[in-house]
Amino acid sequence: MTETIDPRQKILAANAEAAAALRTGFAAAGTLVLNLISSPGSGKTTLLEATTRRLRERLRLGCIEGDIATERDADRLRALGIPAFQILTGGACHLDARQVHRALDEAAFPPLDVLFIENVGNLICPTSYDLGEDFKVALLSVTEGDDKPFKYPAIFARAGVTVITESDLLPYTSFDLEAVRRQAATLNPDGVLLVTSTRSGEGIDGWCQVLEDRLAVKRSGAA
């Protein structure tokens, strides 16, 4: 005899539960948490280095790095004097909330104002997994091309902040910034789009200001 049941439940319910527990912990600690997602080589670590140089005197920063192999990214941030923990996924294309939970246990970070979670370089898979972050950050370098928001709608629809990187290369590419703005606004009308370059320094102050503002909002909400 064939029977059916209708669970009607989220497939990623277990991850959502782990993410909710992380979010509760981050709220209690007053830590702002960002989940950075982009293709490999868009400049996630480079942006974090620039951010660290700007903010490390004012804010207590920490970082979890997700990579398939090597401690290279964590080493780059440790070299700037902030605690960094490297998750090696051994081939997996994304981080999930349980990995972040284990990483936090193992890293035993001091109290932090801002925790950066740099996901595995991949514009697709990390999108599905909530890590307990306050918001996702999508990075897009101008050399990747201006059609990416519509081609990879899931991440650009969900990113609270989209950061265009390497804006100093705009004169040397056919990247249409306005086209990207329109695509991002269509997919995600409430998202913020920032144009940055760590070489010229364009937009880095604005990016850091967004972090400080969001932290202030989170702390005032918690008070």
């Binding site: 709608p153 329109r182 269509t186 009308p189």
Partner: protein, 126 residues
Amino acid sequence: MHELSIAQEILSNVRTALEPYPEARLERVRVAVGELTAIEPELLRFAWEALLEGTPEAGCELDVEWRPATQHCAACGVPKTRPPRGWLPLCGDCGGPLRVDGGQELDLLQVSFEVPDREDRDDRDD
């Protein structure tokens, strides 16, 4: 390619849902996948088949209901017809910005399974 991770989550949810039916033989699982979840139905079915090979659930079908996102005009409120897997940049009628709705589903909908007829249990139930 995280469809294998998603397939593992589906199987783990299904096994939990079937705990009250220890003699069940799994036949069919139906899931909903939204367009904005970054999951490819074809890859998910392939991952499901590969995952089940050599397990007691081998041969169980995975039905994937595709749930596309929709676009409507923020100003005139009219739903728009999108090109398949494409996006309209602006409202064709008033030129206003468009909003995207839906496409976020990633749900386990239904589990179908075979249970052996049990005369003795039926007797007890009477």
